[in-house]
Structures are given as structure tokens and as C-alpha cells.
């Protein structure tokens, strides 16, 4: 390497230093975590608002005369007994004096029917709480009415308790699988963003050198392969610097986030909010959940996941930034790059679309095949590694394929680059580029 490609070191260093010293890099590195904190804050805040039902005032119009008291026994702040007429209560809701009222019909014990009227249609959280409170009371009351003594009920409830705990445990296990699937999504998505971001850095850098006509001077001093490889590695090192910086300051960032979250809300609210979010299928919230420092027990994450992330990020970045560089070399200015970018973008976007499928079916044949295809591998294998136990041979095969694919892509890209950098004026078509491949 040293004697064959003596200029690579110089080029890498140059590319690295000009980027790292630039204002843009410093600002984005420092602001990145702040934006993340702000983002998390907003997510937490939304979760908090949607959980607001504890603060709500619900009037209970109880025609049975037995149930209302028990509700108040559960939460005397939220629930108040009333004997007003429904019409009057409706007016109170309209005037915002109360948030809603619940009518428990006389035959509630038989039918279980109760009607809730609220000002805002009633949030999911409120209904959920009310439902569970009422069900508990209903069961208890029905058992009592059937002549079962308190002692027996306690006994039954005790049994139910054991069962609940089991359920909780099961639920926790299920949660873990979900967390890992979601983590896979987040990591795959992270690779997607980083590949695009740093890939376009490489492209812009190539276009800049071409537009400023520096490229001929460089091309008369080093091999096209050296120039491209140096650029790709230099910018990649910039990306790694940024990611490492973020990883290193992340403890601070989590501590800060924890403080902020704890100031805003109580941990149990948070739990509920997050579960709600998950129920609604909101990915961002789930993402926030995966990062929560408290109120949620994080499953143990294997360090191999981190190693995998870095490997798949780097290999994906290397492959796509070579393609980005080739595209950059073929055009005179960034706005001309669009047409040639399309196929490259497709190679990045298509696996993106498959991520949800792989999250839920990480082990079926289609998923395995897709995750081994080297252009999709960086994102999709990452998702699978997180979501399931990928057999070793598959990981090994993907590594081999990726390395081979990288050198193949770089070889092709260097050919396009070699011809492209000296072509000015005409916007080349794919036909032209294929011709270049034959010429070079």
C-alpha cells in the first residue's frame, strides 16, 4: 500500500482536516445532541399531555348507588359524585367546569354499561383508566352480590395476583423483543441518514474540486483511485469523529435528559405515556422509550450490536460514497446531479422500505436474502442483528459480500471518476457513463 499508493495518506489527512476545522462541522457536532434533547423533550412533552387524564375532573352520576363510592375510593381527586340532572351536567361540560361525566346505569351490574361524556371526545388514556377502574369494581361487586364473602374474594384476587405477575413477566419479555426490533429500526435508520449525509459530503467535495478546476492538478499528482479512496476515507473519518464525540458525551446527555424528564413528570406517568405511545404505534415515542434512562428497565445490549453498527455503517458509507463520488465527478454542479442520483438513492431508499417487514419477520427467507444483498446489507442486516439471532454464517457471508462489493464499486466508481472529472459542459446520460466505463 505504501509504495503503490503513496498519496493516500496525504489526501485522507487533507480531506479530514478541512472538514473537521470547518464551522459547519463544529456547529453540527455541537448542535446535534441539543437537537436530540429538544426532540426528546418534545416527545416526552407530547406523551405527558396525552397522559393528562389524571388531572381531569369527572363527575359520576351513579344510579346504582354502590359503584360511585368505590370509584372515589380509588381516586378522590379525579372523581366526584353528583346528583345533578344529565342536562345540567352537559352544560357544565360545555362551560368547562368539569371535563366530563360518567353515567352508571341502574342495571350496570348486569350489563356493565356506563356512558362517558367529555368535552374533547375523551382521550384514550382517560377511557383506559376508567375502564380498568370500573372493571375492578364491577368484578368485586358481582362476586359480593353472588354471595361470595370478602375472604373468598381476597383469595380469588390473590390467585389473580399471581397470574398478573406472570403476565407482567411475559409482557416484559415481549417488550424486550419489541425494543430490540425498534432498536434495529433506529440503528438501520441511523445508518440510512449517516450514509446519505456523508455520501453527499463526498459528492459535494468532488463537485467543488471539479467546479474550481482543482481536479486536474490533483489528477496530475495522484491516481484517481488514491484521490477517491482518500476522499472517501477522509470524510468517513470525519463522520466517525462526529459519532464518537456524540457517543462520548452521551452519558452527560442522558443525565440531562433524565433531569428534564423528571422535572416535567412523575416516572409512572412516563411509563404509561410510553406504553400508550407504543400502543399507538408511534415510532418516535418508542424510540424515546428505548433511550429512557429511568422508569423503564433497558434490556442488556450486547456490545456486538455496537460493533455491528460501526461495521455496517462504515461499509455502507464506503460503498455509497464511492457511488456518490462517481456521480459528483460526472456533473458540473450539484443541481445537475439529480438525474444520476436517482438510481443510487433507490439503492438506499428501497431497503428503508423493507425495514418494517424485516422488523416483524427477521427470520424468513425473503428477509435473509434481502439482508445479504450487499447494497441493502448495511441497513437490513443491522435490523436483523438487532431483532433476532442471526446465524453466524449469514453475518460472515454478508461481511465477505460487503467487502467484495466495496472494492467492486470503488473500481467502477474510480473509472467513472477518471473520465468524469475532465468532462465539462455536457450533462452526461447513463449511456455516456457506460461508454466511459468501457473507455477507462
Amino acid at each position: 500500500m505504501k509504495t503503490e499508493f503513496p498519496k493516500i495518506g496525504t489526501i485522507i489527512k487533507h480531506e479530514y482536516l478541512i472538514k473537521v476545522r470547518s464551522k459547519g462541522f463544529i456547529i453540527s457536532t455541537l448542535l446535534g445532541p441539543l437537537i436530540m434533547v429538544a426532540f426528546l423533550g418534545i416527545v416526552a412533552f407530547i406523551g405527558y399531555i396525552s397522559q393528562d387524564s389524571t388531572e381531569k375532573k369527572i363527575a359520576i352520576l351513579d344510579y346504582t348507588g354502590k359503584i360511585g363510592n368505590q370509584l372515589i375510593a380509588i381516586d378522590s381527586v379525579k372523581y366526584t359524585l353528583t346528583s345533578e340532572k344529565e342536562k345540567l351536567l352537559e352544560n357544565q361540560v360545555k362551560d368547562n367546569k368539569i371535563d366530563g361525566f360518567l353515567v352508571i346505569w341502574e342495571n350496570f351490574l348486569e350489563t356493565g354499561r356506563a356512558d362517558l361524556t367529555t368535552s374533547g371526545g375523551g382521550s384514550l388514556g382517560l377511557i383506559g383508566n376508567l375502564d380498568s377502574d370500573l372493571s375492578k369494581i364491577l368484578r368485586h361487586q358481582r362476586l359480593l352480590d353472588a354471595g361470595i364473602t370478602e375472604g373468598v374474594i381476597k383469595l380469588v384476587n390473590k390467585g389473580a395476583d399471581i397470574q398478573t405477575r406472570k403476565l407482567t413477566k411475559e409482557g416484559a419479555q415481549k417488550d424486550y423483543a419489541e425494543v430490540f426490533a425498534i432498536l434495529g429500526y433506529v440503528l438501520g435508520f441511523g445508518i440510512y441518514i449517516l450514509m446519505f449525509m456523508y455520501g453527499s459530503f463526498v459528492m459535494r467535495s468532488v463537485i467543488e474540486e471539479k467546479a474550481n478546476r482543482i481536479v486536474e492538478i490533483i489528477a496530475s499528482s495522484a491516481r484517481p483511485f488514491e484521490i477517491m479512496f482518500g476522499k472517501v476515507v477522509g470524510v468517513g473519518a470525519v463522520g466517525l469523529t462526529q459519532v464518537l464525540f456524540w457517543v462520548l458525551i452521551s452519558p452527560l446527555f442522558f443525565m440531562g435528559a433524565e433531569k428534564v424528564i423528571n422535572i416535567i413528570m412523575k416516572p409512572e406517568d412516563l411509563m404509561q405515556g410510553m406504553q400508550m405511545a407504543q400502543a399507538q404505534g408511534s415510532m418516535q415515542m418508542a424510540q424515546a422509550q428505548a433511550m429512557l434512562p429511568k422508569g423503564f428497565e433497558m434490556p442488556h445490549i450486547s456490545p456486538w450490536l455496537g460493533v455491528g453498527f460501526i461495521f455496517y455503517f462504515l461499509s455502507g458509507y464506503f460503498i455509497f460514497s464511492s457511488l456518490f463520488a462517481a456521480v459528483g465527478s460526472a456533473v458540473d454542479q450539484e443541481s445537475d446531479a439529480q438525474q444520476l442520483m436517482t438510481p443510487v438513492s433507490l439503492l438506499i431508499v428501497i431497503p428503508m422500505l423493507f425495514i418494517p417487514y424485516l422488523m416483524t419477520n427477521p427470520d424468513n427467507t425473503l428477509s435473509i436474502v434481502l439482508s445479504l444483498f450487499p447494497y441493502f446489507s448495511p441497513m437490513l442486516m443491522m435490523v436483523r442483528i438487532s431483532a433476532t439471532n442471526v446465524p453466524f454464517w449469514q453475518v460472515a457471508l454478508s461481511v465477505v459480500l460487503l467487502v467484495a462489493c466495496f472494492f467492486f464499486t470503488l473500481w467502477i466508481a474510480a473509472k467513472v471518476y477518471r473520465v468524469g472529472i475532465l468532462m465539462y459542459g455536457k450533462k452526461p446520460s447513463f449511456k455516456d457513463i457506460i461508454k466511459w466505463l468501457r473507455v477507462a
Partner: protein, 325 residues
């Protein structure tokens, strides 16, 4: 000793021959002019020397070895299209280009400072290119070409963008380098500079060599067949002569060549005395500029005749074109 030896190189872009069987060689320690009209294939030839492009066929030997990545470090190339990083400081830029030519960082720094000082540009060290004027940037560019004291200097239109004072400074540096034993290849359209600086030239057009050799020999080979006439009056009498080729024809000054030996310049002078008041009548060697135009025009005619035999008025047309220049 030949430092550069090019043998029948060819370069094709699509179906178009940019360079078609060009051969020439350059002596060590000389200044060599590579001339030709726009689109003749000069830049392509220079790019093949610097290994930015590779010839489809033929060979290029530099310093006795085939041109390749190994020879790049000993060449300083100033491309016609200048380019520097706009946002990088002058000194950092020079150091980077020096390192790309295989210099150590320290060495490149010392040399960069030396040359900046010598070109009265010492104060710009810490400035970014975007803060400099075009002429200043040209100086920096020139320094980047000679920083690693290359044995072979390839300069494409080196004087463009320089004011006369700086152009002189540059000329002096080029001559100094020649005296140090370096070889310089100059590609330019400004024939005066070629006459002042070059020992040998090679004129290429449409991808082929159409004239090459020692500047002195070429000029004397043309003989004294150019007439310069300054006068007052009506010059329409000149239209009576059929074998004149006008180089310049303005109100009070006309320059033309005698196309064959049947016309004597004395006959024209005799005729002129009848019609106009003469201030100056000179019979001289053609300038390199005229040789350039003449040779290129002839080449165009030859190609046209090859393609389309028997078109008679092309000669006159081509001459008119030549004259307009």
C-alpha cells in the same frame, strides 16, 4: 539528451481524434513551445504527458521511463483552467499541493514561504483564496506548480491573467529555471512570447503535427517574403496583384506575403510609388504569428481539399480568415 520523447500517440474521444499520431521530443534544458489553434489537441497532449489521460496508442517517455504515476512527481503542471480551493489558506494549499508531489510537510512549508516572498506575496500566506484578486491567485497557482522544483515544467498559457510587470517576473523565473537545467514546455497562443523564450516548437492542428523544429531555422526557412507598407492614399492598386496574401490590411498600413517567386517586391514598390505616398516599405522575415496562421490555414485547406476536391475559392476564403486574425 531527450527528456521527453513522444512517439505517434493517439487519443480518441468517441469517434473524434483529439490527438492523431503525434510525435516529437524535447531536449533537456530547453524551452519548448507546443503551439496550435484552439481545439488542436494541445491540452489533450499535455494531459497525456502528466498522466491525467492515457494515450490509446503510442508511447510517451519522460526521463527515460514510460510516463506514469512515477513520473508525475518530477513534473510541474500548470493547467490552462486554473483552480485553487477558495476557502483554504494560501500556505495550507501550497503545502498540500507540495505534499501531493511527494514533498515532506516541512520542506513544502519552507519552499512555499520562499516562493511567496520571491513573488512579493509574502503577506498573503494566511489569506484565503477567495480574499485574493485574480492576479494574486494566479501567482499562488504558479507557485504550486514550481514548489517541488520539478525537472520538467509544463505550462499551459502561463502568462494569461498577469499584468506586464508580473509577466516579466514570471518570464525571469522561467529563464532562471532553464538555466538551472530544468526543461520547460510552454503552450501558448501569444507568439511574441514563443519568439522570446522558445528554442524549439511543435505546431499541431487537428490532432497532427504540422510544423516542428528550431524557431530560428523555421523562420529563416520562410525567407524574406513579407512586405510591410505604411502609406497615405488609395491602396486598391494592390488588388491588381493576384498572388498576394494579406496579413493585415487597414487604412494606412498593409502587411502581406508574396505567395510565389514570380512576383518581385520591387514590382509592387514601383506600382505603389505611382498611387500612394509611402512612409515605410519593409521586406522582412515572417513573424512566428504569420507562420502560425499560414501553416494552420494551409492545413485547413489541405484537409478540405482532401475531403472535397476541386473547390477553388477556399484558398481565398481561408486567407481572408487568416487576415482577420
Amino acid at each position: 539528451m531527450e527528456i521527453l520523447k513522444i512517439q505517434s500517440i493517439t487519443k480518441k474521444f468517441g469517434t473524434h481524434f483529439a490527438v492523431n499520431g503525434v510525435s516529437f521530443s524535447v531536449e533537456k534544458g530547453s524551452i519548448f513551445g507546443l503551439l496550435g489553434p484552439n481545439g488542436a489537441g494541445k491540452t489533450t497532449t499535455l494531459r497525456m504527458m502528466t498522466n491525467v489521460l492515457m494515450p490509446d496508442s503510442g508511447t510517451i517517455e519522460i526521463f527515460g521511463v514510460p510516463a506514469g504515476y512515477a513520473t508525475q512527481d518530477r513534473i510541474g503542471y500548470l493547467p490552462e483552467e486554473r483552480g485553487l480551493y477558495k476557502k483554504i489558506k494560501v500556505i495550507d494549499q501550497l503545502i498540500y499541493f507540495g505534499q501531493l508531489k511527494g514533498m515532506s510537510r516541512g520542506d513544502a512549508t519552507i519552499k512555499a514561504k520562499y516562493w511567496l516572498k520571491r513573488l512579493d506575496a509574502g503577506d498573503w500566506e494566511k489569506k484565503k483564496i477567495q480574499e485574493l484578486s485574480k492576479g494574486m491567485a494566479q501567482k499562488v497557482q504558479f507557485i504550486s506548480t514550481i514548489l517541488h522544483s520539478p525537472d520538467l515544467l509544463i505550462l499551459d498559457e502561463p502568462f494569461s491573467g498577469f499584468d506586464p510587470v508580473n509577466a516579466e517576473l514570471l518570464k525571469k523565473i522561467i529563464i532562471d529555471m532553464k538555466e538551472e537545467g530544468k526543461t520547460i514546455i510552454l503552450s501558448t497562443h501569444v507568439m511574441e512570447q514563443v519568439e522570446q523564450l522558445c528554442d524549439n516548437i511543435c505546431l499541431i492542428d487537428t490532432g497532427r503535427v504540422i510544423l516542428s523544429g528550431n524557431v530560428r531555422t523555421i523562420k529563416s526557412g520562410y525567407g524574406r517574403d513579407t512586405v510591410l507598407l505604411e502609406f497615405e492614399g488609395d491602396d486598391s492598386f494592390l488588388d491588381g496583384f493576384s498572388n498576394l496574401s494579406f496579413i493585415n490590411r487597414t487604412k494606412n498600413r498593409v502587411e502581406f506575403r508574396l505567395l510565389d517567386s514570380t512576383i518581385k517586391s520591387n514590382d509592387i514598390l514601383a506600382e505603389a510609388l505611382k498611387y500612394v505616398k509611402i512612409f515605410r516599405y519593409d521586406v522582412v522575415e515572417p513573424s512566428l504569428n504569420e507562420i502560425f496562421i499560414d501553416t494552420v490555414t494551409h492545413n485547413i485547406n489541405n484537409i478540405k481539399n482532401e475531403n472535397n476536391n476541386g473547390v477553388s475559392n477556399i484558398n481565398a476564403e481561408a486567407n481572408k480568415e487568416g487576415g482577420a486574425k
